[in-house]
C-alpha cells in the first residue's frame, strides 16, 4: 500500500501503541511516528526499535475461575453457560470498577444473560442462527469481551495469548462457539461464517489439543500393540 510514512512495530495485532496504560511507552511510539514527518523523501518505512516488554508466561495470573466443563447438574449447553456466567459475574464487576466503570460490553442490545440463554438454546436444539446472523455476531463479540474483561480482572500484567488460550480451550463459552463453528463448517453454503466466530489461531490450537488428547488415549490403551 505504501503510505507516505509508516512505523513498523513488533507488537501483537490489536495493540498498535504496544502496552496498555504505559504512558511513557506509548509516547515513545508516537514520538517515533511523528519524527517520520521530518523525512525529506518517501515513502518511509522505519522500524520502531523497541519490543513490548516481555511478559513471562509464569507471571500471567492464574485463571481466576475454575472453568470445569458442564457439571452433572448442567447437562445442557444453556445451563452450563449460565453456570459459568454466575462464576464470572463478580470478576466482571470487579474489573469494571477497576476501570472506573468502563466496559465494552453491551453493543448487541440484549444483556449478557439473554445472549447466553439464546446461544445455549440454539446449541441444545442443534440449530444454527442462520436467520439472525447479525444478532449472533454482535452477541458473541459481546460475550467474548465480557469474558476477556472478567479474565483480566486480576491484578498484574497478562499475556494476551494466554487469555486467548484460556477462553478458547478452557471455558464453556469457548467450547460452545467451537461447536457452533463446527456445525457451520459442515454446510458448504454457510461454512464461511466460521471465520467470524473463531480466530484461525484458536482453531488450530483446538485441533491440536484434540489430536494430543487422542494420542494420549491411544498411548494409554493397554491393548495398544
Amino acid at each position: 500500500m505504501q503510505p507516505p510514512r509508516s512505523l513498523w512495530v513488533s507488537f501483537s495485532l490489536g495493540r498498535p501503541l504496544g502496552v496498555p496504560n504505559d504512558v511513557a511507552f506509548q509516547h515513545r511510539v508516537i514520538g517515533a511516528a511523528l519524527d517520520l514527518l521530518n523525512a525529506e523523501r518517501g515513502p518511509v518505512l522505519e522500524d520502531f526499535p523497541e519490543d513490548a516488554p516481555h511478559i513471562e508466561i509464569d507471571d500471567t495470573p492464574a485463571c481466576p475461575v475454575t472453568f470445569a466443563r458442564p457439571a452433572s447438574n448442567t447437562n445442557t449447553w444453556q445451563a452450563a453457560l449460565l453456570a459459568e456466567l454466575q462464576t464470572l459475574t463478580p470478576w466482571h464487576d470487579l474489573g469494571k470498577r477497576k476501570r472506573g466503570g468502563r466496559t465494552l460490553v453491551g453493543i448487541s442490545g440484549p444483556d449478557v444473560k439473554g445472549n447466553l440463554e439464546k446461544l445455549g438454546q440454539y446449541l441444545d436444539d442443534s440449530k444454527l442462527p442462520i436467520s439472525e446472523l447479525k444478532w449472533f455476531k454482535a452477541a458473541i463479540e459481546d460475550l467474548k469481551v465480557f469474558y476477556i474483561e472478567s479474565l483480566t480482572a486480576q491484578p498484574g500484567s497478562y499475556h494476551p495469548s494466554i487469555i486467548e488460550d484460556i477462553f478458547w480451550l478452557e471455558t464453556t463459552l469457548g467450547a460452545a462457539l467451537l461447536k457452533m463453528s463446527e456445525r457451520f463448517e459442515q454446510d458448504p453454503a454457510i461454512a464461511s461464517v466460521t471465520r467470524i466466530i473463531v480466530p484461525r489461531s484458536a482453531l488450530e490450537k483446538h485441533k491440536k489439543s484434540i489430536y494430543l488428547k487422542q494420542e494420549t488415549e491411544v498411548s494409554n490403551n493397554p491393548w495398544r500393540i
Binding site: M1, P4, S12, G14, R15, P16, E40
Partner: protein
Amino acid sequence: MVKLADLPEYEREHLLSKSEPPLGPPVWQQVKKDISALRIALITTAGLHFRDDPSFDFADATFRPISGSENAANLVMSHSSVNFDKSGFAEDVNLVFPIDRFRELEVANKIGSLADVHYSFMGAGLSPQAYETSALQVASLLKKDQVDAVFLTPV
C-alpha cells in the same frame, strides 16, 4: 522485523491482496510546518464508535466520526475480525486510539492542535476500492477542519 515469508500462508495472501486499485503509486507531500505547529487528526481502522452509534456490519466501508470533545473512554469496538487481540483495548482505549497521549502533546506544545473530529473505519473483509467514497469524504472533512497530518492506527 517479521517478513512476509514468515507469516502463515493465509495471512500472507491476505496482506498481498490489499495492494489493489484505486491505490496508485506512492504519494508524497513534504511537511512545510514544524511538528509543533501541526493540526493533527487520529484515524483508526479498529471499528471504534460510541455506544449510541450504529455498529459496523460484517463488511462495512462506512466510517464513524469521533468528536474530540467527547470522553474516549466511552468508545466501544465492533470490528468483525476475530483475528486480533481485544483485551488490550478493553484495558486502555489509548492502546488503539491514543487521544489522551495527543492531548498531552497538545498541552505540552509538542503539536499545534488536535482536530475537532477524528474518524474510525472498520478494516476487514473489503478491497480498497470499497473504501474510495468514504475515504474521499473523510479527506474533504479533514480539509475543512484545517488538518495538516493524520495519525493512523490500524489493528
